[in-house]
């Protein structure tokens, strides 16, 4: 094969990067379901059908209180959607679910049927990071799926670098950390050292149910139930793993690079 062949192959394929966010977002797989919505007003009195089916105990309902679903713990298996007799828990098909505050992931109370999407960093940080964000990724005890779908953002279809976002090989070169996994006890020291090595000001992004709340391993003695136990978190991106589109949405939202749109009506 000659160099010219390589170039001509490449030219023939053309540009394969998606139009999003200038164009429409690619559709999630039809069976994906997207973010969940909780209309606790629809819950029958005393009904607890969804509580025991949740593998990560993300759903609770104490007496006299509306049902509470923690989308941070949720691994999106939809067992609760199947179990709910009154369609109080539904799938929205919406890929957007990144938030800035942990409590914004607790759904159930009225006005909190859906997640409150992340607001952008303050003006000062946006000036610093808005057009150039360098992240160090720390994988800390998950299953490598969040890592895989973060890596995907670097492929030609997503081309993360067009937004000025890059993953770098040293914490000294980084503006923040992107953490996956529940943070095992065995990774705690390495994560702390990495965090300490990142110069101020710095941000932390927790990707996936494990990094937010321990995921399927919540409560194990060998893990920390999420990154927050070790470092402060600025952005939470739920999923098991989050779809690449959900991760990208979160990153762009944090940098204030997405135009706010109203949450579409539930599917």
């Amino acid at each position: 094969m000659f160099v010219l062949d390589s170039i001509s192959h490449r030219l023939k394929r053309g540009c394969e990067t998606m139009a999003y966010p200038k164009g429409p977002a690619p559709a999630l797989p039809d069976r994906h379901g997207g973010a969940l919505r909780v209309d606790a007003a629809k819950c029958a009195n005393g009904c607890q059908d969804c509580v025991p089916v949740c593998p990560t105990e993300a759903i609770t309902r104490s007496a006299g209180r509306p049902v509470a679903l923690d989308l941070g713990r949720c691994i999106f298996c939809a067992a609760c959607v199947d179990a709910c007799p009154s369609e109080a828990i539904t799938q929205t098909g919406d890929h957007r679910m990144a938030v800035r505050s942990r409590t914004d992931l607790i759904l159930g109370d009225s006005t909190k049927e859906q997640v409150r999407l992340a607001v952008a960093l303050d003006e000062k940080l946006r000036k610093l990071f808005g057009r150039s964000l360098r992240l160090r990724q720390v994988s800390a005890g998950g299953c490598n799926a969040c890592e895989a779908d973060t890596n995907v953002l670097g492929t030609i279809g997503w081309d993360l670098s067009r937004f000025g976002i890059q993953f770098v090989a040293s914490p000294r070169h980084a503006d923040g950390l992107l953490i996956t996994g529940p943070v095992t006890k065995n990774m705690e020291l390495a994560l702390k050292k990495t965090w300490d090595a990142v110069p101020e000001p710095k941000i932390v992004i927790a990707v996936g149910a494990c990094a937010i709340a321990g995921g399927p391993y919540v409560g194990h003695a060998q893990v920390n139930n999420g990154a927050e136990a070790v470092v402060p978190v600025d952005l939470y991106i739920p999923g098991c793993p989050p779809h690449p589109l959900t991760i990208l949405d979160g990153l762009l939202r944090l940098l204030g690079r997405l135009e706010e749109k109203a949450i579409p009506p539930k599917a």
């Binding site: 390589s6 069976r31 089916v53 800390a140 005890g141 895989a148 990774m187 390495a190 399927p216 003695a221």
Partner: protein
């Protein structure tokens, strides 16, 4: 034909009452296991079952050519025993693991140190003793646990003379999240989700092994159509990962056309899995008793069409790669593992097949749908990076062909049955050929039918030693391509 005398025979995906598993005094048990391995057996799993203050050892051995598995157990033992590793290297990590988990000392083990737990100095598995080479020209290179890309954590310690690596020791455990500790008394609410995340890129492989274990413990098997769905998902998983690996290898030798194309095509295969079940990694598809999602005719047609496009794309990208002499020369005679070494350390999967070993669970120990539809075993001699890349490409082609045939002829029927409770005091074994190689799950139930012990062996557990051997005599600058050519799982090893 081998005739194990001391061990009970069983087939993949079947179970045996615990009392019928032959028991031997520990010295006899080690001797008998050694004899089976000498006869051509391969150690699939070796683990301890606590019994009071003592521990019983259990061995699961595969006779690939005979399509049978053999199991045996020791009488309860305390303290120590004469190590199997002293004569059979295949057992070296298993015996370290048993020592770490149960405190049973394999006497005469040449390198007894923890496998994945933290040590007394704090939370860093790599703080400890490493094998060192001494000499004026020798230098040591330490890498990890946090790596330079988006990669799982692990620590690599190289002993080098100039560029040449004399020895590589790999210290893992950073991903240890207590998978096996959580299982006794189960299945629990989170067990299915944990099984799907033993190694996230092998969700279908591990979930199928787990579901098969529960099905055989319930005295049944999944409906045929569910077995068909699992076989399809397993090959989609293989296609995505092998394509990603070809791309990663191309990237590491700076051959960007194949690298960038495969990065995208890998995503196309993941999206086919998402077409089946909504999740790109296959979460939520396999469940004990069957599958949670079916494929109607329209979805089969869409899947077939998109599969054909992705296969054509990957063929084009792979051809650029194989046609390029500069790529081939970077891979040839780099990171060689000899067939004799591969046999000795018990390599599995594409890494073993790239040493010329004919070893594939789908073919040797067919269970589920593979009893009715088979794939040829893709073998390439050589044992170098080139061979490992070549086996992946052969498997991409064969998986593609298999999927085309299977999607054209779906079996009728339901996809999920209710499972009966698990049989009490029973040992069940399930092997699945995941894309990295043999996934082995062994369950032992207690008197109430709950898990008494559950042992998971990811193919990476066998194969990390292969990577360490591949580096001997290789330039340290070739570590990235050697590593990519194995692409092993840290989390699957660390559990």
């Amino acid at each position: 034909m081998s005739h194990p005398e001391s061990f009970a025979l069983l087939a993949n995906g079947t179970s045996l009452p615990w009392t019928e598993v032959p028991e031997m005094a520990i010295a006899d048990f080690v001797r008998a296991t050694a004899a089976e391995l000498d006869r051509g057996g391969r150690l699939c799993s070796w683990f301890g079952v606590p019994e009071g203050a003592a521990v019983r050892l259990v061995a699961v051995i595969a006779f690939d050519a005979d399509n049978t598995l053999a199991v045996g157990r020791s009488l309860p033992v305390v303290g120590g025993y004469k190590a199997l590793t002293a004569t059979h290297s295949q057992a070296h990590l298993f015996e370290r693991e048993v020592w770490e988990q149960h405190g049973l000392v394999p006497e005469g083990h040449p390198w007894l140190k923890p496998v994945r737990k933290n040590n007394s100095n704090g939370n860093a598995p790599a703080v400890g003793e490493f094998f060192r080479v001494d000499g004026r020209e020798i230098h040591e290179v330490a890498v990890g646990p946090v790596h330079a890309g988006i990669i799982e954590p692990g620590h690599f310690r190289f002993q080098c003379a100039g560029e040449e690596v004399l020895h590589l020791e790999i210290a893992l455990g950073y991903q240890h999240r207590g998978m096996e500790d959580a299982l006794p008394g189960g299945p629990h609410r989170a067990t299915m989700s944990q099984m799907e995340t033993v190694s996230g890129d092998t969700t279908i492989g591990h979930a199928t092994a787990y579901a098969t274990v529960l099905e055989t413990l319930a005295g049944t098997e999944a409906p045929l159509r569910a077995q068909w769905l699992r076989a399809i998902a397993l090959e989609l998983e293989r296609l995505a990962n092998h394509t990603g690996d070809i791309g990663a290898l191309a990237n590491d030798v700076a051959f960007l056309p194949t690298s960038s194309a495969c990065g995208k095509i890998r995503g196309d295969f993941l999206n086919l899995t998402a077409l089946v079940c909504g999740n790109r990694f296959g979460r939520g598809l396999v469940r004990p008793g069957g599958c949670r999602h079916d494929l109607d005719a329209e979805r089969v047609a869409r899947l077939t069409e998109r599969l054909a496009t992705a296969l054509a794309d990957v063929e084009q990208a792979a051809n650029w790669f194989w046609d390029s002499a500069s790529v081939r020369t970077r891979f040839e005679n780099v990171g060689t593992v000899h067939a004799s070494q591969a046999g000795e350390i018990g390599l599995v999967g594409p890494a073993a097949r790239a040493c010329g070993l004919v070893r594939d669970v789908r073919f040797d120990h067919p269970a589920g749908w593979h009893r009715f539809a088979q794939l040829p075993v893709a073998v390439w001699p050589g044992g170098d990076v080139f061979a490992r890349a070549r086996v992946r490409w052969l498997e991409i082609q064969r998986s593609g062909q298999f999927l085309k045939e299977q999607l054209a002829a779906p079996p009728e029927g339901g996809i999920r049955d209710e499972l009966a409770p698990s049989a009490p005091d029973t040992l069940a074994v399930a092997l699945v050929e995941g894309w990295r190689g043999e996934v082995c799950h062994v369950a032992l139930t207690d008197a109430t039918g709950h898990f008494r012990r559950y042992k998971i062996t990811d193919p990476s557990f066998h194969n990390w030693t292969g990577l360490a051997l591949a580096l001997r005599g290789t330039a340290i600058s070739d570590f990235p391509i050697c590593n990519k050519s194995f692409n092993l799982s840290y989390c699957g090893f660390d559990l």
